[in-house]
């Protein structure tokens, strides 16, 4: 770990994470297919995970190392669960309405 820290500065990880996150946001905002939106959300989650791991690596080794990595593992777990749930919802919507286009699923309003 220390080798990585010496070769690549922290900023690079942060910039990578920001780019990934922005791509995720862009995907969520522009895509109309629910599955693709879900994938963009996964991108955002992974950006956050990169941040966690990077900070864990660069932070004071005696206390923060494990916490950041544990966070990343939790994010992956939660993301997996979320995907399972969201895909189930999308599947039901598709069965009911014959589409996964979110523009056409707008019944939940006044």
């Amino acid at each position: 770990m220390e080798a990585v820290a010496q070769q690549i500065p922290l900023e690079h990880f942060l910039v990578l994470s920001a780019i990934l996150f922005s791509l995720g946001v862009y995907g969520v905002l522009t895509r109309r297919n629910a599955v693709l939106i879900l994938m963009s959300v996964e991108l955002m989650l992974n950006a956050a995970s990169i941040n966690m791991v990077a900070f864990a690596a660069y932070a004071a080794p005696e206390r923060a190392v494990v916490i950041g990595i544990v966070f990343a593992v939790f994010i992956i777990t939660v993301a997996a669960a979320e995907v399972g749930l969201a895909l189930a919802i999308i599947l039901r919507v598709f069965r009911n309405r014959g589409t996964a286009n979110v523009d056409e699923v707008d019944q939940l309003k006044w």
Binding site: L29, A34, D106, K109, W110
Partner: protein, 632 residues
């Protein structure tokens, strides 16, 4: 059983009331026997109290101011202590005897009179509550308890006037009685608060003592005395509050006998008699009482001449009597007032119960439909005559002694005395008229008169007992009778020890009053029995005056006009304000505004996922920007 146990007297009927209200329908005969037993026990218990009082009087003589017994009720440390208690002295005892005895007679009478009534049980419950509150009223040692009982008797009066609540007139009369007396009651309440503020106590004796020691500011004392008088005027049907009493005749006749003749309406007289020392401390106080009493007595006397409803005539005679009592209080002869109250309770209750007997037998109460009942109802006729001529003031009946006592008391005041003398023949005349029109002459409705008969036992016995008392109670003024009963000096000295108003019989006054009464009776006899066409001719000749009397001096119309023009007009403005400002603008307006805003805002919800996502992103970015700006 002494004076300090007097609290039992109101508690017994109050307990009967509670039982009747809760379990009345399950009791045999709806529990009327329980009500009568309770009031009978109260009546019997007055005797040990009288015995105790007379022995205390014999022991302490003139220093005796009454026995009190009270328990703490409510205490705010430092500035307020309320006590609940009884105070017994001679005035109280007179009121206790009158209240419990007449209540007993009336309840026995009602056994027959009210039989078959659909609300028989409730009638007895209300009667018990009335008896309890009336006894509490006269026993109260402080103004708060007095006020409490004062309102309770008003409530019972309301309930019992409106007993035939399916009749609109009865409901209206009950409302009128309640509201009219309320007007005065507000005055009484303010007076009590004013007196409490300056003395820090509600105790009647303490307040009087403080006033006599000069601890109450003059203007406060004046105001509270006037307001106190207002309360008494409302309850005792003094001008200009008297209008409720004739209408109160819509209630069952025994109710009129008890509440609107013998007990509740004299509560005002009792209150003034009790607080008379306060009135005497205020310049013009007694004169005000005198003027009101005189005016009331004089005005009401003439109304009795033209009314045709048998109960209304008696009601106006009651107002007349109440006026006389106020006159007695005003001229500083409270013993005479209490004596009149004492005798009046018997003969007026007798008159009402007699009228009730007539109504019961004929189901008519307009004298134009009666007549010729003497031979059909001899007992009612005789007892009614005793009551009527006692009211008229025929010598040696109870009313005569009491009325003469008032006349003697008023002797000093020439104006009052002459007005009283003037009203005497009028009173005698209308009582004679009432008797003649009801019992003598030809039956105006022969079919009705043919089936009339004397009342059953439960009604006859109270009539006979009250008639007997009317014959003899006047004699208690004499020293010899008083001594035999245990209070030497007669009732006058019993009531006000050490005051200079022991009974004094003035032969001249008695002769003058007897002549005037005889004149009135003969005139009444001549006008309504010998030459029955004479009253009609007189009515024709003095048409405006007759119309004025028939319309009760247009006072009811005047009040109605005031209510219509002022009260209702003001209410209409308030109703408009309430409708338009409070309701439409305030309540409905805020609801409409909220609803309209919601209508506008609901279009924010598109249901489209990207819109929500964009809003979230913008929100997060904005929050982040704010956070960064604030941090740096």
């Amino acid at each position: 059983m002494g004076m300090t146990d007097a609290w039992l007297l109101p508690v017994l009927p109050a307990g009967a009331f509670a039982v009747l209200v809760l379990f009345g329908p399950y009791l045999p005969r709806r529990g009327d026997w329980l009500a009568i037993a309770a009031i009978f026990a109260s009546f019997v218990l007055t005797f040990p109290i009288i015995a105790d009082l007379t022995s205390a009087l014999a022991e302490h003589g003139e220093e005796f101011v009454g026995a009190a017994n009270s328990i703490p009720w409510l205490e705010v440390p430092g500035n307020l202590e309320l006590r609940l208690g009884v105070h017994v002295d001679a005035i109280t005892v007179v009121m206790l005897v009158v209240g419990s005895f007449v209540a007993l007679m009336v309840q026995v009478y009602s056994l027959s009179y009210m039989r078959g009534d659909s609300r028989y049980g409730w009638y007895y419950a209300a009667m018990s509550l009335f008896a309890a509150s009336m006894l509490a009223l006269v026993l109260a040692d402080n103004f708060l308890l007095l006020y409490f009982a004062w309102e309770l008797v008003g409530l019972c009066s309301y309930l019992l006037i409106g007993h035939y609540s399916h009749l609109r007139s009865a409901a209206e009369a009950a409302k009128k009685a309640f509201i009219t007396t309320r007007l005065g009651d507000v005055g009484l309440l303010i007076a009590i608060i004013l007196l409490w503020r300056d003395t820090g106590t509600f105790g009647i004796q303490e307040v009087i003592a403080a006033a006599q020691a000069g601890e109450i500011r003059t203007e406060v004392l004046t105001a509270s005395v006037v307001l106190l008088l207002l309360g008494a005027m409302g309850k005792s049907a003094q001008f200009p509050f008297h209008v409720w009493l004739p209408d109160a005749m819509e209630g069952p006749t025994p109710v009129s006998a008890l509440i609107h003749a013998a007990t509740m309406v004299v509560a005002g007289v009792y209150l003034v008699a009790r607080t008379l020392p306060l009135f005497e401390l205020v310049a013009g106080g007694p004169e005000l009482v005198l003027a009101i009493g005189l005016f009331t007595a004089f005005l009401s006397a003439f109304l009795g001449l033209v009314m045709t409803d048998i109960k209304r005539v008696i009601a106006y005679s009651t107002i007349n009597s109440l006026g006389l009592m106020f006159v007695a209080l005003g001229v500083g002869a409270p013993a005479a007032a209490m004596l009149y109250l004492f005798t009046h309770a018997f003969f007026k209750a007798l008159l009402f119960l007699g009228a009730g007997s007539v109504i019961h037998a004929t189901e008519r109460q307009d004298v134009n439909q009666l007549g010729g009942l003497w031979s059909k109802m001899p007992l009612t006729g005789v007892t009614f005559a005793v009551g009527a001529f006692s009211m008229a003031g025929l010598p040696f009946l109870a009313g005569f002694w009491a009325k003469d006592e008032i006349l003697v008391g008023a002797l000093e005041n020439r104006v009052a005395f002459s007005f009283l003398l003037l009203s005497l023949p009028v009173t005698a005349m209308y009582m004679t008229r009432l008797f003649i029109l009801t019992f003598l002459g030809q039956a105006r409705e022969p079919e009705v008169a043919k089936h009339a008969h004397d009342a059953p036992l439960a009604m006859s016995v109270p009539l006979a007992l009250l008639a007997l008392l009317t014959l003899v109670t006047g004699l208690v003024v004499f020293d010899q009778v008083g001594r035999a009963l245990g209070f030497p000096g007669g009732i006058g000295e019993l009531i006000f020890l050490g005051e200079p108003e022991v009974f004094h019989f003035d032969t001249g006054v008695a002769a003058a009053s007897s002549e005037l009464v005889a004149l009135g009776i003969i005139a009444g006899w001549f006008a309504w029995a010998v030459r029955p066409e004479l009253p009609q001719r007189a009515a024709q000749a003095f048409r405006p005056i007759h119309a004025m009397l028939v319309n009760k001096y247009y006072l009811d119309d005047f009040y109605q006009a005031i209510i219509d023009r002022v009260v209702l007009a003001g209410s209409r403005v308030l109703a408009w304000f309430d409708r338009n400002v409070v309701n439409d603008t305030g309540v409905d307006g805020s609801a409409l505004t909220t609803g309209f805003m919601g209508y506008l805002l609901k279009f924010q919800q598109t249901g489209k996922l990207p819109n929500y996502a964009l809003a979230m992103v913008i929100g997060v970015v904005a929050l982040a920007l704010v956070a960064f700006t604030l941090k740096t």
